[in-house]
């Protein structure tokens, strides 16, 4: 049965309208526990059961009053409750409460029943059916022609992938704790290591190896004198690259030196070098040259913001024009000027989408983001760069938020969205790469999401999404390291 048809039927049931489904369709949907159906006698029996609800509620109230020592009619307060209930009242109340629950459920079912002519039965949407409908609303545009079973299977796999990614991150995190990294570096927090762990899940291969490489890079004496935030960015990006971490570290230091030679201030060389770390040598040299040119054209914009555009995706003039147009477009849409707006503009300008499409996508996504991001502009821009439709991109973030919270992969609530944003980059939602009708194709050949280099999204994420969280945590030390205490 096609997903589109399933959506039509479920939508009708949800709205209380006749679903007009055949017997075969009903068999499929009841088999999948999306719909339940009752013949007329069963429905009548349920309805008659539900009618007992009023009387039963009255009885429960009476019993409850007896148990609580309600006024005996004289208006005199009887004191502590319970002592005035006769023998067996508590037991009867408990039993009546159970019946009440059953009848309430029966009434809810009766109220939601919809008659279906073809099967001559009453139908209603199950909880699983409501979930399936929500999925079809979110992803159905891409899945219309897919058999619904296959669609559900893909969603199951997607959700399992999110869970697996968190499991992998947890393995990395446990390894890092095992090496007592925080004892050696007390400036860092568990939140820092959790962020690193979830970012490192993007690296293919063994989780323990990823953890070992990160620990090795993180403890390198080469970071001495650098700011802790930059230290974290550099270590995650370098450990996230495939290949020899020590060699990557050496290239990284050379890049920093070369950037300094080109007039980039020492405070900026760390994040810029990290943003370019995945590029092969000639491309990186080219990017550094482009960065100098971009800075000459836009001296007020920081190198950290321009680093993404320095990557040789578009010709320089076009890159600059896209930056200007995007920045002006954001202004027209009412987004405030400032560093974060420039950062969002640069991310959008470097995205594979035509400039006006990128803006539209961003506008839609930014309007739907949960309020938890300190910089919704940058978070929205990062989500906009995906190849998903805006509603799908937000949905993938929400799925990631759900996965992080379900797994309790956080200490503080403020961490969740930040971690989920990374997860939504790491785990590709579903297996759909086809463009939707009416949406212009991306200008650049897209890379499969799994191989998008960590440096391209981790650096802006760290600068404008995660660092405000760190500042919050630093100013609320009592909340950090909170662990449940059960009695």
């Amino acid at each position: 049965m096609q997903s589109r048809r399933v959506a039509e039927i479920l939508e009708a049931l949800k709205a209380g309208k006749p679903p007009a489904m055949s017997r075969e369709e009903l068999t499929v949907l009841t088999g999948g526990d999306l719909v339940r159906s009752f013949d007329r006698p069963t429905r009548d029996r349920l309805a008659s059961e539900a009618e007992r609800l009023v009387d039963l509620t009255g009885r429960v109230q009476e019993l409850s009053r007896a148990v609580h020592g309600w006024s005996d009619g004289t208006g005199v307060f009887l004191g502590a409750s319970g002592a005035y209930a006769g023998p067996g009242v508590r037991e009867e109340l408990r039993s009546a409460m159970n019946d009440l629950e059953e009848l309430t459920r029966a009434r809810a079912v009766v109220e939601s029943l919809v008659w279906n002519d073809a099967s001559e039965s009453f139908c209603f949407l199950t909880l699983e059916g409501r979930r399936a409908l929500a999925d079809l609303r979110n992803w159905g545009a891409r899945a219309g022609d897919l058999p619904h079973d296959e669609f559900r299977e893909r969603l199951r796999n997607y959700r399992a992938s999110l869970g697996n990614a968190i499991g992998r991150a947890d393995t990395i995190l446990r390894s890092l704790h095992g090496w007592t990294l925080l004892d050696a570096m007390p400036d860092f927090t568990r939140a820092d290591l959790r962020l690193a762990s979830i970012a490192l899940t993007a690296r293919p291969g063994d989780a323990f190896q990823a953890a070992r490489d990160f620990a090795s890079v993180f403890r390198s004496p080469a970071w001495q004198g650098t700011r802790r935030e930059d230290h974290l960015v550099g270590a995650v990006v370098l450990a996230g690259l495939p290949g020899d971490a020590a060699a990557a570290m050496q290239v990284f230091q050379q890049t920093r030196y070369a950037l300094a030679q080109r007039g980039i201030l020492p405070d900026d060389t760390m994040v810029v070098a990290a943003a370019l770390a995945d590029l092969p040598d000639p491309d990186r040299a080219n990017a550094m040259t482009r960065l100098v040119d971009l800075r000459t054209a836009r001296p007020a914009v920081s190198p950290a913001i321009l680093a993404g555009l320095a990557r040789p995706a578009f010709p320089l003039e076009e890159a600059l024009r896209r930056l200007e147009d995007t920045s002006a477009g954001l202004g027209r849409l009412g987004y405030a000027d400032g560093e974060q707006a420039w950062a969002a503009s640069a991310i959008l300008a470097a995205s594979p989408w035509p400039f006006d499409t990128a803006l539209e996508r961003f506008h839609e996504i930014a309007g739907r983001l949960p309020g938890a991001f300190y910089s919704p502009l940058v978070a929205g821009a990062l989500l906009s760069t995906s190849l998903l439709e805006p509603t799908e991109a937000v949905e993938s973030l929400e799925e990631s938020i759900g996965a992080v919270t379900r797994a309790n992969f956080f200490d503080l609530t403020v961490e969740i969205e930040s971690l989920a944003l990374i997860l939504s980059h790491v785990v590709a939602p579903l297996d759909f790469h086809s463009a939707l009708a009416g949406v212009p194709p991306p200008m650049l050949a897209p890379l499969p999401p799994q191989v998008v280099p960590v440096s391209t999204w981790f650096v802006p994420h760290n600068l404008w999404v995660y660092r405000p969280v760190v500042r919050y945590i630093a100013s609320h030390p009592a909340h950090v390291h909170t662990i449940a205490g059960f009695g």
Binding site: H68, A80, T104, G402, T482, F486
Partner: protein, 403 residues
């Protein structure tokens, strides 16, 4: 199945239990809690030392609110729910006038007894908390408890059966104790401006958790909802729905406290019922691991009188409307987090419908409350404990189409 007590680990509070106290006012219904291992006063370690080290034993507390400490080793089961003992009035953690710990250095600056200054000079300056003699919020010693405030809470506890006051759940007081004179004398030597002149008491109460609704705990239900979920171990949609139903049931009881405790006093010819005085559900109630909201600060609930049924109805309405936002916030936070985790009922309108359905179900067995849909609205019919015919009211719970 017993619902375990849950608390958020916080700063340790080194206390000393003094089994010999000059006066105790106990709650007979909870006599078994006041056993040999628990009975007595709990004073900060420093106060004990300054008082001449009377006979006592060290107890490790965990900081709860500013002047309270949880005693994780003292737990009791009531009605299938575990409660942990908490001492209120065992020393304030923060300075009364600055956002800073009440350290030994600060104590030196408010010490009015030169002989104690010498003793304090030998202290290491750690942040410990202390009972002071500063007169605070009416007539309460800052960091301690006043007898009249404690007595109000004890009276409310005496009206309950365990934790159940006509369906309204409370954190009952087990006993009030007066601190030994030596300790009171020392405490009264420390104050900033005004010296407290009364006796120094403290209360031992039972709490199912220290997760408050919105303020005053390291993790609160409204602000840190995902962390609260982790604390409570909520791992399935069904568990969340049960939790939400308990939360709704107990919140509805809290909103109708006056009605459910209403009585007619023949002596004065007036109606009496419990009302909240300067206390709120967002900071003075905690959530148990099964979702049941328990009111903690019982010193803030007292009888108010009404002369006529019209006044009674007005008081019921006032109480409901004064607190319904806080209760709704908790329900909404719970429902939103449930959706976030388990991906059901995507849009906010559907979520609100779900909350209303839960409220209807939760009110099902309530002795004084019935929730119904009527002309596109959802209304609560409140029938008070006394004189229901004349004093019943109808309160709008949700406006507009909700089905």
């Amino acid at each position: 199945m017993v619902t375990p007590a849950v608390w958020v680990p916080n700063d340790p509070v080194p206390l000393v239990r003094l089994p010999e106290v000059p006066e105790t006012l106990g709650n007979p219904a909870l006599r078994r809690v006041w056993d040999e291992a628990t009975a007595g006063a709990y004073v900060p370690d420093l106060l004990w030392r300054l008082s001449g080290r009377p006979r006592g034993e060290p107890v490790d507390g965990v900081r709860d609110d500013n002047r309270s400490a949880i005693l994780p080793g003292r737990r009791v089961i009531l009605d299938d729910r575990e409660y942990v003992a908490t001492v209120k009035g065992c020393g304030a953690a923060t300075d009364a006038f600055q956002h800073a710990p009440l350290s030994v250095a600060r104590l030196r600056s408010i010490c009015r007894d030169p002989s104690l200054l010498q003793a304090l000079a030998a202290e290491d300056g750690s942040e410990i908390g202390f009972i002071t003699g500063e007169r605070w919020f009416g007539n309460v010693p800052y960091g301690g408890q006043a007898p009249d405030n404690g007595a109000i809470g004890l009276l409310a506890s005496l009206r309950a059966q365990g934790t159940d006051l006509a369906g309204f759940r409370i954190c009952p007081i087990v006993a009030l104790v007066r601190l030994p004179d030596a300790c009171a004398r020392i405490a009264s030597s420390f104050y900033w401006y005004r010296r407290y002149a009364g006796a120094y008491w403290q209360e031992l109460r039972l709490m199912p958790s220290n997760v408050r609704v919105y303020f005053h705990s390291p993790v609160t239900f409204g602000v840190d909802t995902p962390e609260a979920f982790a604390l409570f171990g909520l791992s399935s949609l069904e568990a969340c729905e049960r939790f939400l139903e308990n939360l709704a049931r107990s919140a509805l009881a809290a909103l109708t406290l006056y009605a459910r405790t209403l009585r007619f006093d023949d002596r004065t010819g007036r109606y009496l019922g419990l009302a909240y005085h300067d206390v709120w559900l967002d900071k003075d109630a905690v959530i148990a691991a099964d979702g049941t909201m328990h009111f903690v600060d019982l010193e803030g609930i007292e009888d108010v009188s009404a002369e006529t049924p019209a006044e009674v109805r007005e008081t019921i309405l006032h109480q409901f409307h004064r607190h319904v936002y806080e209760a709704s916030y908790a329900l909404e936070a719970m429902a939103a987090e449930t959706h976030r985790r388990f991906r059901v009922e995507g849009d906010p309108a559907a979520r609100r419908r779900w909350v209303i359905e839960i409220l209807e179900r939760a009110a099902g067995g309530d002795p004084c409350l019935r929730i119904e849909r009527s002309r596109g609205r959802v209304v609560a019919h409140v029938a008070p404990r006394a004189d229901a015919d004349a004093c019943s009211v109808e309160i709008e719970v949700a406006s507009g189409e909700v089905s």
